[in-house]
């Protein structure tokens, strides 16, 4: 029974399958032809190829897009760097502009760069002289530099030279003289004391220290200063100043020891007195002083300023020492000096000089002389005239008298001189000076009158 049921199932299944198989092919054959099928198949293949192509294209586009994004990021990074650089440059430019606009601070200074310094100061003069009964001539060209070397805060070496040309009247041509005016080492020991050593300008009065060409208001020296006292000496000096109160008043002091005056020929005769020739070593190479007794001296003064540019200075100074080789005769000098300033336009000053010395042949000699000079700048008149505002009128009276002039071999020598003149200031340091001198003397070799024109420059 069971076997018959299985057989009938197989028959029914076969019939159904045959029917289904016969129905379906019959329906398809009826609607799509082979041509259409092939066309459709070709189209499907074409679409597949297009899809494949699109996929490849899309991959390329995506790759390109990825590259573009990378390039964009790189560009953005570069842009950021450029913007940062521009910002930095702008900030630097702003800082530089601000730094340039602000003044460079001058203090405090780097001591390492300024603690040693070499400096040249000085003056130069050019002079024309027309003396009575003589031909006018360009008489002088003078260059007088001062070399300064500062070795630290309190050590200074200073040396002044005087280079001058002079006409050789007898031998023809001209000669050049080169003199050492001073050469000294200064050591500032304290606020109130300085040690100086070398060839010193002597504080015998004030003229020798303040008589440089552009400082002096006249083109030549006072007679007494030239004739009676030495301007310099070789030795050592202590000098300084002490404040007197709080208003600027000062007590000035100086003491020194130098070789001092000597004898030109070794004798004690009056005519042999040599004020400036004793420097310790003879020109023949002898390493010995001309005599064994040095000279000493000093100056004491008060400086009294009332206010800026208004002041009075009074000083006394002296010097003494043996002058002859045997040491038998003393040479002494005393000087009283005074200077007054009343504002920037008026100055007056003067000195009185008295010297004495003993001699073998003529006993005790006494010499004396003095000068007083004044200057007034016309700018003080407020005339509003440029030429006059640059002009200063000056006047001087000076005199020297002594029993015997060893240079000119004249007894009872007496000379007085009146000088009037002007100074035209091109600048505060470039001066054009003109002076006319009237001289009265019992020495016939003295010139009665002379005109001196001088251009001075202080640098």
């Amino acid at each position: 029974m069971k076997k018959s049921k299985n057989t009938s199932r197989w028959i029914c299944g076969l019939v159904a399958a045959t029917g289904a198989a016969g129905l379906l092919p019959t329906a398809a054959t009826a609607e799509v032809s082979d041509a259409d099928f092939n066309a459709l198949k070709a189209m499907v293949q074409q679409l597949g190829e297009q899809v494949q192509s699109l996929r490849q294209t899309n991959a390329l586009v995506e790759q390109t897009h990825l590259q573009d994004q990378q390039e964009l990021q790189a560009l953005q990074s570069k842009l950021a760097e450029t913007q940062q650089t521009a910002t930095d440059a702008n900030q630097k430019a702003t800082a530089a502009a601000q730094a340039e606009a602000q003044p460079v601070p001058r203090a405090p200074l780097d001591e390492a760069t300024v603690n040693r310094n070499f400096q040249i100061l000085g003056d130069a003069e050019f002079q024309y002289v027309n003396a009575d009964h003589q031909n006018g001539a360009f008489a002088l060209a003078d260059f007088a530099p001062i070399f300064l070397y500062r070795g630290g805060d309190n050590i200074l070496f200073e040396a002044g030279f005087d280079t001058t040309i002079a006409n050789n009247a007898s031998g023809g041509g001209y000669s050049t003289t080169f003199n050492l005016s001073f050469a000294q080492l200064d050591y500032v020991m304290s606020d109130y004391l300085t040690l100086c050593a070398g060839e010193l300008l002597l504080p015998l009065g004030t003229y020798s220290e303040r008589g440089a060409g552009w400082l002096n208001k006249f083109p030549d020296d006072p007679l007494a200063v030239d004739a009676l006292i030495p301007g310099s000496g070789v030795g050592a000096e202590l000098r300084g100043a002490m404040p007197l109160g709080d208003s600027g008043k000062l007590l000035n002091y100086a003491v020194y020891g130098v070789n001092g005056p000597s004898s030109a020929d070794g004798t004690g005769n009056a005519g042999a007195l040599d004020l400036g020739g004793n420097v310790g070593v003879t020109s023949g190479g002898t390493s010995a002083n001309l005599h064994g007794n040095p000279s000493g001296g000093g100056r004491l003064a008060v400086f009294l300023p009332f206010k800026p540019r208004y002041d009075l200075e009074l000083g006394v100074s002296g010097m003494f020492g043996d002058w002859d080789n045997a040491g038998n005769h003393l040479w002494t000098a005393g000087v009283v000096d005074a200077a007054l300033h009343l504002g920037p336009n008026f100055e007056a000053k003067g000195e009185y000089i008295l010297t004495r010395y003993g001699s073998d042949d003529l006993g005790i000699h006494q010499q004396q002389g003095w000068f007083v000079q004044a200057g007034y700048k016309l700018a003080g008149l407020d005339l509003d005239l440029p030429l006059l505002n640059n002009l200063e009128v000056v006047g001087r009276y000076d005199k020297v008298a002594f029993a015997y002039d060893p240079v000119n071999n004249v007894f009872d020598f007496n000379t007085q001189r009146y000088t009037v003149g002007y100074i035209y200031y091109f600048t505060s340091a470039l001066l054009f000076e003109g002076d006319y001198e009237f001289t009265h003397s019992n020495d016939p070799s003295q010139t009665d009158t002379q005109l001196i024109l001088q251009i001075s420059y202080g640098f």
């Binding site: 001058r106 405090p108 300024v114 400096q119 300064l148 304290s190 606020d191 002091y253 300023p305």
Partner: protein
Amino acid sequence: MNPFLKIDVRRAAGFALLAATLLCGGLTTSLCSAGPDTNAAPAAASSPAASPATRHQLTGAELYSIHCNRCHPERYPTERTAAQWKTIMLHMQVRANIPGQQARLILQYLQENSGR
């Protein structure tokens, strides 16, 4: 001339010079111990408590006018550099007998107004 008198004069003069030197040196030594350091900077040196000399009311510009006018027309501070003024002021301190304290105030004024 009496030789004994000459010797006495020499001795007296020598003693006077020696006494003046010792007096000056002693005075300076005592002042040095109480005085300001000469190496101090101008600004520091102008401290009111530095020394009696610093109590004055004068400025560097006023002191410049006071001292320079004694010998010559005043020069413009711009004519020299700060380093040059330092050397020139040391020269002038010695030549014109200017106390160190005043010299530092003048130098400070000149350097602050100097030409670079």
